[in-house]
């Protein structure tokens, strides 16, 4: 071989080595890069998955920015000819022709229309608007908003009782009684925690308001939610109304409510959590079960019956409606894309037998086998069914298939979905939308017992504490945390061990929580995109333009102060603004604030972000502080959690007033 050729060969070999080394190095770097950002071993070195389809959606997602409809609540006109459907994501009230089963128009309504109710003559609709704290009155002939009626914070359910509106103000935890014509607020009544749906008796004498969340309880106590019953009485301003607070024992997530025509009874949907048990399994309803509450209006007795089967669960019971003959109820299950048909005669029989046997009626829901006696059918419907409505003659059931942007049409006689009405939502499914479907589906849980939403209703938090298995039974009970405003707050978990959402929702999540199959990587990417898209609601404690009250301004100074009232300097580490720093008010580090209990195996916990902290009760890593005040008055007696002992009641109130504005 000539020297020239030999040099050429040597060059080729060196070049090949260089390419191989560069390739190997690039791969080594990529493996580390993916592991760093996902916190997991790379399941696939797919640049596109994260850099193009992740973090809020694909490039085409961002270019198109489709606006989904996400139909939530349905009202049917008295003549059965027209449906009115709230579309919170497109800020519209959709008009659907029932006969042709086609969309017949859209009415722009506020910013986030949630629930809808119609007048008796079908001429007017009232629509609650979650974002702007008002109820819109819509003239259905002209299809225009004719008046806005101020309500409380984040109105959800709405009912019409004669000439009055009963409005459940979710974030205000109260109920507005409004004059339907003038909007004059006749009363503001305290509700339970996060009032959600409203049902009004046919004679308009009584309104039932479900409350989504349980009232905060002492550590180790079982949570129970409230069903608020309001005897509406006189329409006179200031007249007394009798309110009965039914404690729905061992249950929360009360979403739907309906009166049973012809019977002195009403139905609600509920979930029975098992958060006090060490989460060692899913089988047999160990994590949670769904239920139907049956309220006897004469006695106030509330029976709870199971909606699940023994080895198959129907996650996230949502709305409930009853046929005009009072014999059949329908419940939507958002987590499993099913509507359950229930024989109410059989329900009455089961309750009568249990009463005769002396069984506690509110514990019947733990006998999962009972459902076989009254469940007539499980009807497969579209994705994430929520609101239900019956035609006036009871022959047709309409189902808001929220994540398909469709209305399912169910024939009540055959108990089958016979048609779907396409409401005209975008065809393109963004990563965020796909992630929302993953989030709302119980498919990834053993026996489909629960979805992500089951613990994070309204993408927020259920306010409960859980004893997860890996760190020992009875150890490290941790408070659930909100998903709103999650972006940029890594690491996750109270012990700060999960550096990414991929890790948080990864294989350990499947091994110790869902007990089924981990999410495929593409679903994890979509789920992360959805979670990072969740924005906290508008903070109602801030004044116009973000202005602070005097008390809030004093609280802000306390939050960032460097000296006590007597001038003694406060160490940097003891100042609120040191750990709760930055835009999200977290340094994303772990700190020991003296909150650990005898059963905690770690002392330092992840610093929580403070955005909308006012709606995040309970507090501290194990949820033992039921209010913001208790963080310092009960659980920081020695100034372990910042320096507050010198503040006095007024100073602490100021600090809390400021915290609520964050």
């Amino acid at each position: 071989m000539s020297p020239k050729r030999r040099r050429a060969m040597r060059g080729l070999v060196l070049a090949a080595c260089a390419v191989a080394a560069a390739g190997g190095g690039a791969r080594w770097w990529a493996v580390g890069h993916v592991a760093h950002f996902t916190g997991t071993q790379p399941q696939s070195l797919d640049c596109v998955a994260c850099h193009v389809t992740g973090h809020g959606g694909t490039i085409t997602d961002r270019m198109r920015a489709p606006r989904y409809l996400s139909p939530l609540d349905i009202a049917v006109s008295p003549d059965g000819a027209t449906m009115y459907v709230t579309a919170p994501d497109s800020a519209e009230l959709l008009v659907v022709d029932a006969a042709s089963r086609r969309p017949a128009g859209r009415v722009a309504v506020g910013e986030r229309p949630y629930f809808v109710v119609l007048s008796g003559d079908g001429a007017t609709a009232w629509v609650s608007d979650q974002d702007t704290d008002v109820v819109h009155r819509v003239d259905l002939a002209s299809r225009a908003v004719t008046k806005t009626l101020p309500s409380g914070f984040a109105p959800a359910g709405i009912g019409l009782a004669g000439d009055r509106l009963v409005v459940a103000n979710a974030l205000g935890s109260d109920i507005s009684i409004l004059d339907a014509a003038t909007g004059d607020e006749q009363g503001r009544l305290a509700a339970g925690n996060y009032p959600f749906a409203v049902a009004v008796a046919p004679d308009a004498s009584l309104a039932l308001v479900t409350n989504l969340l349980a009232a905060p309880v002492a550590p180790g106590e079982p949570p129970s939610a409230e069903l608020t019953a309001i005897e509406l009485g006189s329409t006179d301003r200031g007249s007394r109304r009798r309110i009965t607070r039914h404690v729905v024992r061992d249950a929360h997530l009360l979403e739907g409510a309906a009166f049973i025509p012809g019977r002195p009874a009403a139905l609600i949907t509920l979930v029975r959590p098992r958060n006090l048990l060490p989460a060692v399994q899913v089988e047999r309803g160990w994590m949670m079960t769904g239920g139907l509450g049956v309220l006897d209006l004469a006695t106030g007795e509330l029976a709870q019956l199971p909606l699940d089967d023994v080895e198959r669960f129907y996650a996230d019971p949502s709305d409930v409606v009853v046929t005009p003959d009072g014999r059949t109820a329908f419940v939507s299950h958002g987590g499993v894309d099913v509507v359950t048909a229930i024989d109410l005669d059989a329900v009455s029989q089961v309750i009568a037998e249990a009463r005769a046997a002396g069984e506690p009626l509110d514990q019947l829901a733990d006998r999962l086998g009972l459902s076989a006696r009254y469940v007539r059918a499980r009807i497969a419907v579209g994705s994430n069914p929520r609101g239900l409505a019956l035609s006036p003659d009871g022959s047709t059931l309409y189902v808001a298939e929220r994540l398909d942007d469709t209305i399912g049409v169910v024939d009540v006689a055959s108990l089958r979905r016979v048609a779907g009405i396409d409401l005209g939502g975008p065809r393109h499914q963004t990563a965020v939308r796909r992630g929302e479907k993953v989030f709302n589906s119980a498919r990834a849980t053993l026996q489909q017992q629960f979805s992500c939403r089951s613990c994070h209703p309204e993408n927020h938090v259920d306010g409960l504490q859980y004893d997860l298995e890996p760190d020992g039974l009875g150890r490290n009970v941790v408070d659930n945390r909100s998903l709103l405003g999650l972006r940029g707050t890594a690491p996750f978990k109270w012990n700060g061990k999960n550096t990414s959402l991929y890790m948080q929702c990864g294989i350990r999540f499947a091994r110790f929580l869902t007990r089924s199959e981990p999410f495929p990587f593409d679903e994890q990417v979509a789920l992360a995109a959805f979670l990072e898209s969740l924005e906290p609601p508008r903070n109602r404690h801030r004044g116009p333009g973000g202005a602070l009250t005097e008390a809030q301004q004093r609280g802000r100074e306390i939050f960032s102060r460097a000296a006590r009232a007597d001038g003694t300097p406060i160490r940097l580490i003891d100042r609120c603004s040191t750990c709760h720093s930055g835009r999200l008010y977290t340094d994303r580090q772990r700190h020991d604030v003296g909150s650990a209990g005898s059963w905690d195996t770690v002392r330092a916990f992840d610093t929580p972000q403070l955005n909308n902290i006012g709606m995040g009760a309970p507090y501290l890593h194990d949820g033992k502080a039921r209010t913001l005040e208790e963080i310092w008055t009960v659980y920081s007696p020695g100034d372990e959690h910042g320096i507050t002992s010198d503040l006095g009641k007024q100073g602490l109130n100021d600090l809390i007033e400021y915290l609520r504005t964050l």
Binding site: G369, R508, W599
Partner: protein, 399 residues
């Protein structure tokens, strides 16, 4: 070399290479069935006279039955082949078989057209009743340690590696079936001292954890002949490929079907024990327990159940005032439980046996509680009573 020469040599070579590539791409290793196909287990029609051991060792064949072309025996190279279980993509199946009357039985894999036969495992010597598991792997029954006739469920990877036992105790476990939720159902035959057998139908997760009585409501997927939804009797004529007429014992459809979830596992070899957490011993459908006054049960004793050393107390824990107990027990050991009164006298015993896998924390609502009962939402006192130094259920499982 001229371009013309390149063309003369290169073009045919490229054409051959393209054809070869296309052919390879076109012909999958396990071609799928083109229409409805059943896998049928056949037996000689004259076998009805055989009894006992003869019946268990007689000839069997696995045949493929197409709607259009009828039945065709796939296992003529085997003396006995039975219990076919198709893969979820409908391209291949596993079965139990022996090539000669005197050869050892094994679990085999075969394409649906009868090609690509491969032995997967000989297990402990008598493997049978294989089923294909979601995510790969095979579950089968086999001879197990214990008195004669003891059989257990085993699992292995698709290539026969990672052989592991899933069920425990000196009993005969049979008829595994895959449930739609990813768990396994099987029959457990218990023998009394007189040699009589009684049957319990149980469920486990695919790693052997979560042993429970089958509640009967979870549907099974048709993964083996024992679950065939339309197995039927009939006569397969000799023209189908055999020396004589054969009768059909069972059939299972081989069409592609949804794959149940691959359930995760907490089993870890790093720990030799597991825990039993009972929420309330008084929650029982047995009056002998349910009627015991609260506070009368002082402790629970865990004994070895069945086999050598039966009755030996291997763990003990107090029963708390709320009826809960938490006890750590050796893994992979069939254990019985005895409730003990304040005076130390036994109040009730359960000998049918349960086990925990290494690192498993097993929860029970009660002791023989009603089978449809979900637990009450109460923090069991047993988890608070355990010493903080005691690492109850503490585990470290690698990712």
């Amino acid at each position: 070399v001229s371009p013309r020469a390149w063309w003369k040599v290169g073009a045919p070579a490229a054409a051959v290479a393209a054809a070869a590539w296309a052919g390879l791409a076109w012909i999958p290793s396990d071609p799928p069935a083109s229409g409805p196909v059943d896998l049928v287990t056949l037996a000689p029609t004259d076998e009805s006279a055989l009894r006992g051991a003869q019946h268990a060792t007689g000839r069997r064949w696995v045949a493929r039955r197409d709607a259009s072309s009828g039945a065709r025996v796939l296992t003529n190279a085997f003396f006995r082949a039975e219990a076919p279980s198709p893969s979820f993509d409908g391209r291949w199946f596993v079965f139990a078989g022996r090539r000669e009357a005197s050869s050892a039985p094994a679990i085999h894999r075969m394409s649906l057209d009868g090609s690509a036969v491969r032995e997967i495992t000989r297990g402990a010597g008598e493997p049978g009743e294989p089923i294909v598991m979601p995510g790969g792997g095979i579950v089968f029954t086999d001879r197990a340690e214990g008195p004669a006739g003891t059989r257990a469920l085993f699992a292995c990877a698709e290539d026969g590696s990672e052989l592991r036992r899933l069920t425990f105790g000196p009993h005969r476990d049979a008829s595994p079936a895959l449930l739609e939720d990813g768990r396994l159902r099987f029959d457990r035959f218990l023998r009394d001292t007189g040699g009589n057998e009684s049957r319990l139908t149980m469920t486990i997760r695919p790693d052997g954890t979560g042993l429970a009585r089958s509640l009967g409501s979870a549907p099974a997927v048709a993964a083996s002949a024992s679950d065939a939804p339309h197995g039927r009797w009939g006569i397969i004529p000799a023209s189908a490929g055999g020396a004589s007429d054969r009768r059909e014992l069972a059939a299972v459809p081989a069409a592609p079907r949804p794959e149940p979830p691959v359930l995760t596992s907490v089993v870890s070899a790093a720990r030799a024990t597991g825990t039993l957490l009972c929420l309330d011993v008084h929650a029982s459908r047995l009056p002998a327990i349910a009627d015991l006054p609260r506070g009368s049960i002082a402790a629970v004793k865990v004994t070895r159940a069945g086999g050598e050393g039966a009755g030996e107390v291997i763990a003990e824990a107090p029963v708390q005032p709320d009826g809960s107990f938490l006890v750590e027990v050796p893994a992979d050991t069939l254990v019985g439980l005895t409730l003990v009164g304040r005076d130390g006298a036994p109040l009730a015993s359960f000998h049918s046996g349960v086990w925990v896998r290494p690192n498993e924390n097993r929860g029970c609502v009660g002791c023989h509680e009603p089978s449809d009962r979900a637990p009450a939402n109460r923090r069991p006192m047993a988890v608070d009573a355990a010493s903080p130094a005691y690492p109850a259920g503490a585990m470290k499982v690698s990712e």
